[in-house]
Every structure is written in C-alpha cells, then in structure tokens.
C-alpha cells in the first residue's frame, strides 16, 4: 500500500488552509502503515466539514446523518467485524448532536476508532459555538460570548472506561499519523481528538494559538495506564495543551464479550435455509 492507493477522485471542498487537510494526510499515512487494503477499511461520518473526509480518501464510506456516525459505525462493525472501522467526526457532530452515542459507544467498547476534528466551532453551518468553543467567544448566535462550560470530552471518556484516549494536532502530521495508527491497533473504542484550526470561523484558536501551546507528552516519564494521572493530563488546557496518548488500558471488547469473535463475521452467515422447527417446538 502506498499513499496513492488511498487517493479519491472527489473534489475537496474545504477552505484552503483548513486544518482538515492535515488530518486527511495523517490518516492516509496511518493507513499506509496499517497495510490493509481500502476495501477492508470503512470510514463512517456524520455531517459537517469533518464529516466530508471519507469522500476524500479511497476506502469504503458511509456518510450518514449529523450526529449519528457512531451508531451507524457500531452497526457496521457488528455486522462485519473484519472491517477496520474509523469514524471521522466534528466537535458538533460527535459531542453535540451525537453526545449520547459517544457515551454509550464508549461503554459498548467495539473495536472502532473515532477521530474528532475539534475546531471548536460549527464550521459547515458558518460559525456557531460548538460544545468545545471557549468561554466568551462571540458568534452571531452567542452575541455576548459563550457562557457554557466547554465540554471536557477526554476526561469524560476516561470516566466512562474508554481504553484509548488521546489528542493530536492537525499540523503535527507524523505524530498524528502515529496516534491514529495506535488508535486503530487498540482493541476497543479509541478516541482521538484532533486540534484542527478552522481558518474561516474560529478567529481565536488559530494555528498560531495552538502551536504556541501544544506539547507532546513525554512517553518516558508519563504512564498512560495511571488513571489519576490521566485525569490530570486530560484536564490540562490553556497555556499548555498536551498531545499524545493520555490514557490507555486494555480490556475486553464488545466482540470478545458478545461472542462475536468466536464466530465468522455475521455478514458471512448463510441465510437461505434457516430451520425454525426447534423454535416452534419450544414456543408451543
């Protein structure tokens, strides 16, 4: 596999300079390293700028409803566990409209990887506050500035038992590619939140703003298996913003516990001649 194997012919409609380009490139790199064919990978998304990504890469794509990427992905993974399932979603898509699915899919712990393009704004709908917009940021709707506490999604994910919680930066291409690769390798629900500048509507959290603040977690001194430390780390925001794997904990996946791993993928089941006689006997 090389980068060209993942080339899509679809025209990219993001604004020039958008942080989404960086994520697209890192994802492609990660997939090259993964070594799987495009046909064995499924990208699932909702609606938003972030959610357009699956069109811009050659993999299977299910571009569903705003906020509903996760359940569609969960269903697809259950139906065919041999697919590598990756979700590309926005801060609005995943944390706003889709918040309930995030909570419960972390609990479900299917072996899927979620990449949240966090531009701290609703990009596609032209600049309203998202759940991660900083306090005080003004928009056409939040005319006096945002008054809701930004959502601490990474901390939340840790409390819910997510076994892979991480943050990347769209400009940090190789690091992000590595992070995505680690997320895919993790057997269970992996959350990768990516700092993604929106050059058009987020005039605060710009490339400059992020670049001044992000740092890579030192993998020698930091133990991502330490939950208490992870809470601490996940909570850092402001002058210093950590990137890297914040929390990591192996555990049984849905596929393990449900028994899916002991049978062929559901989609391979023969269904033409199912015999009901035993059920009928049991029922009557």
């Amino acid at each position: 596999m090389n980068i060209n194997d993942f080339k899509s012919n679809d025209e990219i409609t993001w604004c020039p300079g958008c942080g989404d380009f960086g994520i697209l490139n890192s994802l492609k790199k990660a997939l090259v390293t993964l070594g799987k064919e495009p046909k064995d990978i499924l990208l699932v998304s909702g609606i938003g700028q972030a959610a357009k990504l699956p069109h811009y890469i050659k993999c299977n794509c299910f571009n569903g409803l705003h906020g509903r990427a996760l359940p569609a992905a969960a269903g697809a993974k259950i139906a065919n566990r041999s697919l590598t399932v990756i979700i590309t979603t926005g801060d609005g898509d995943c944390y706003g409209e889709g918040g309930n699915h995030l909570i419960h899919n972390i609990r479900r712990n299917l072996d899927i990887t979620v990449i949240v393009h966090n531009n701290q704004i609703y990009g596609l709908t032209k600049g309203q506050a998202s759940p991660t917009t900083d306090l005080g940021y003004k928009t056409k709707v939040q005319t006096n500035g945002v008054i809701l506490e930004p959502m601490h999604a990474l901390e939340m994910a840790i409390t819910l038992g997510c076994g892979f919680v991480s943050r990347g930066y769209s400009k940090d291409s190789d690091h992000l590619a590595w992070l995505i690769g680690e997320g895919i390798k993790h057997k269970g629900f992996s959350l990768i939140e990516v700092l993604q500048p929106c050059v058009t509507y987020n005039k605060k959290n710009t490339y400059e703003w992020y670049s001044q603040r992000v740092y890579k977690i030192d993998s020698n001194s930091y133990n991502p298996g330490d939950k208490a430390a992870a809470f601490q780390k996940a909570g850092e925001w402001g002058d210093k913003i950590p990137t890297g794997v914040i929390y990591r904990q192996d555990g049984e996946s849905y596929e393990d516990r449900s028994g899916l791993n002991n049978i062929p993928p559901l989609v391979e089941e023969k269904i033409e001649n199912i015999d009901l006689s035993a059920c009928l006997k049991e029922l009557s």
Partner: protein
Amino acid sequence: MGELTIKIAGEAGQGTQTIGTALCAMFKKLGRYIFANQDYMSRVRGGNNFFQLRICDKPVQALKAKADILIALDKKSVDLHRAVITERGIIILDKAKFGIADDEKIFFDVPFYRMAQDSGGSDIYINTVCCGVIAGLTGAGFERLEEVIQEAFAGKEEGISGKNVSAARAGYDFAKNNFKDEKFRQVPGPAKETLLMNANEAIALGAIKAGCKFYSAYPMTPSTSIMDTISRFSGKFNIVVEQAEDEIAAVNMIIGASFAGARSMAATSGGGFALMVEGVSLSGMTETPIVIVEAQRPAPATGFPTRTEQADLDFVIHAGHGEFAKAVYSPGTIEEAFYLTLKAFNLAEKYQIPVFIMTDQHLADSLRNIEPLDLNKVGVQRYIISKEDSAKLSGYKRYVLTPSGISPRAVPGWINDVVYADSDEHTEEGHITEDAALRVKMVEKRFYKKMAGLVQEIEKPTVFNLEKADTVLLGFGSTYGVMQEACETFADGSLGFVHLAQVWPFPVTELSLLLKGKKNIISVENNAAGQLGKLLMREAGIKVSCSVLRYDGRPFDLEYLLERIKELKG
C-alpha cells in the same frame, strides 16, 4: 358444545396472565380453538388487569364484550367486570377473602385463598387453584391441566410442580363437587396440532427465518416481546440483539449493519418511531434496506402505554422528510405477521428501502392457536451481489442509474472496489453533488421508479363476500378478525369486507376494482380521524359512506362492531 369466554381479572402481579396462558395451553390440548387478548395497565403491581380467552370448536379471531366466566382475583374485579357477564355467566370469587356476604345467583364462591394455603402453603397457588376450577367446570379433564403444569414447572425447584398439581386438584375437585351444571362443558376438538402464539412472536420468528442477523431496539411497549423472543433464540442462529441507548441509535445501528451486508431490524411504538423518522429518511437516501416494526399504542406522547390504537397510519406512511419509496405492511393476523415479516426483508433488500410492519397492541399481545406455519411459503430471496460475483466486479458505482431505479448492491469488503454511501444528494459514485440534472435523476430513481416497482408487488387485499354484499367494511391491521366474524354473522351474505395487509403503496388498482359500484363502504378503524377512509379518497378517489371508529384505547369487540354496523346498514 358451543363457545365460551373466560375472563381472569385482578391486580397487576396477581397472575391474570399466568392463569390465562395456562388455560390456553389446557384448552389447546383439548383441541379447542382459542382467541385470547390482554388488557393491562402501565404499572407492575395493583390496578386492574384482565386476560380474556374465547374458546370455540372452530377458529376464532376476535374478542367478545361479555364473558361467561369471570375469575375475580380481587374484590375490585367483581365490581368492575360484573356488568359484562353474559346472561348464563358466573363469577368465580372468594367471598370470604373479599368480605362479600351477599349470596348472588351469579356468584360461584370458591375459597381459593384458603385452598391455595392448604394445598401449597402460599397465596401464589391461587392461580393454579383457579385453573383447576376451570378444568372442573368445563370438563377439560384434569390430566390435561396436569400436563400443562408439569411442562410449565419442568426444571424448576423440586416439589413446586407437585404442590401446583395438588392445588389444581383441589380446585378441580371443588368445581366437580359444587358446580353441577354442564353449561360450560367443552368437548375435545380438532385443534391439537396448532401453534399457540401472538403476533410479536410471529414477527420474531419471521425475522429469524428471513435471516435477520442484527436486531436493535430500545424497550417500548407493546413492541418489546419481539426483542425478547429474538434474544431468546439469538444464540441458536448467530443473531446479535443490541439494546440501543435510544431509538435514534437503534435505527442508525441497523442502517449501519445493513450497509455492511447484514439483514437488520428494529421495533418500537409510536413515540420511539417518532425518534427514528430522520433515520427512515436516511435509509431512503442512502438506499439501505431496513425493516422496522411500529407496534402502535394510543397516543399522542406517552398516551396509554399498554393499550391499543391504529392512529399512526398517516404518520408512518409520511414518515421522513423528503420524498422516497417505502412500503408499509399492516398484517391482520398472526399468520400474516409471520409471512409479511419474511416478505418485508425480501422487499427491503430488493428495493433498498425502509419497509415497515405496522401492528398494534391488540395484534401484538393477542394469542391464537394457528395452523402450523408453512415454512416454505415465502422463501428468502437475496438481492445483493453474491460473494462469488463480487470477486469479478470492477468499476463499481453504488448508485449507478438503471431503468428500474435499483442499483446493484455490493457488500463492502467483498468487492475489490470501495463503496461510497451518502446522505447528501450524490453522484452515481456516491459523492456529494450540487448538480440540478443529477438531482432530478436521483429523485426519479429513489422515488418514482422504485414506487412504480413496488406497486407491482402490492400484497393483495383479503376480500370476503364481496359479490353479494351490499355493505362493505374496509380495514387494515388488527381489525381483520373482528371484521370477518362480523360478516359471518350476516347469514344472507349482505356484509362483506376488504382487509388491507399493505397500506403503502396503496392498492389503488385493486381497490378500484373491488369497490366498484359499492354504495355503502364503511371503514373500520381504531382511531379518531378515520385515516384509512381519507387515504382511500386521496389515492383512489373513492369515498367511504362513513367510518366506524373506536378510540378509547380498547380493541373492537364483536358486539361493538355489530351494533354500529346494524345502525349503519339500515
């Protein structure tokens, strides 16, 4: 001898359902035909529930308003139900326990509380005592009841079964000794080899047989027993049943699973369906087959959670923003529920659309013993590119334009190309487009062409007595049985009916033919608006003369319908 209606009434938690199902099993062993319906409150203890079974030597499909025998498990039941006892009827009650002193002719006093203590050492045995009483009263035979008990308690704790048998025996003997009249006598009938089930079980079995591999739902009365039944057998058939966090997740999960190639289903009731409506539109746009059961209950909002209504007809056929093809089945019987579920999966896959099975609490919860299902009547027909063919394919476009509107559907991972599915307006490849001309083609594909195909495959309406009838009843869904029995009471054949087991696409051609020249068409609907009558007007330009409606949350009973018809038939 003739037919008999037994009603068991009491508080939630007192075991009306336990008694009822045991009696159903007993009378089935006797070869009698049974129709049993349930009336229960949205609470787990207290209140007043009842289970009513109608027993006959020929198939029965509807309930009657009046019972011949009322088993009153508490005093309140005596008061609540005494008005709906037939002339010859009796009330079985425990006068001492209920503190009733009056000696009324209608009472058959059975000290079942004391008998339960005596034979089993606990009040819970009153259920079995009552069953024994019925076995005694009706001459159903003690050995049949004993068999039912043994089957029910097989594998349970030692001694339980024995205690139940003694309790039953006590009841049986009591009835034999104290009730000398033979008026309720039931003789062996032909219905031994039947299946006793309700429509929810039939739907679950239909889904299993159709190859449903993924079921997701959020619990909601009266749909939940579909999930229970599929769960019960899921291990046997490698089916995954996943309880969703909400109905939105359920519908999107089944869409995802179906996109990946697995036949998938969800079930819910009106309020949960309301939450799925956006997903229905997604299924239409992405052309991903799904099957959804909408088990109606009285609404709006929470309404009557455990009762029945048919008021979601318009809501379901118009569900989802935008225009796209869909199909809506409305089975009238337990058998139809089974066969149409199978068809629903085939149809959904063939047209790559959402297909709905619209039922209601009355159909979902009512038991009947039906003739053995024909397991080969509806075969599983697949409409995906087989794994074999997949290997040979290249240049795949998910939404390639075809004369039928149907594009070959590939399973991601099976073909060498990739599959793009998209909720935006899209190109043949499945990428987002803004193109006006393409939009027109895609609307025609998803809507006009598929609807034209679906119209060719509409489930034929069931007709009864149409040639002779001067008055024709028109109904859909659970009113089948009561319409049929109502027609049968008119020996002169002057009443006929047309029952629609499919309401969308609407069977315009069929109905135009069937109803041609009929002056007196009466729609029979468990709703307040007469929605079916209006739909008939909109689609076929045919006007009903009137509608017989019921919207108190209760199903039609035979008397209710007959009374209205007699008024209207003149």
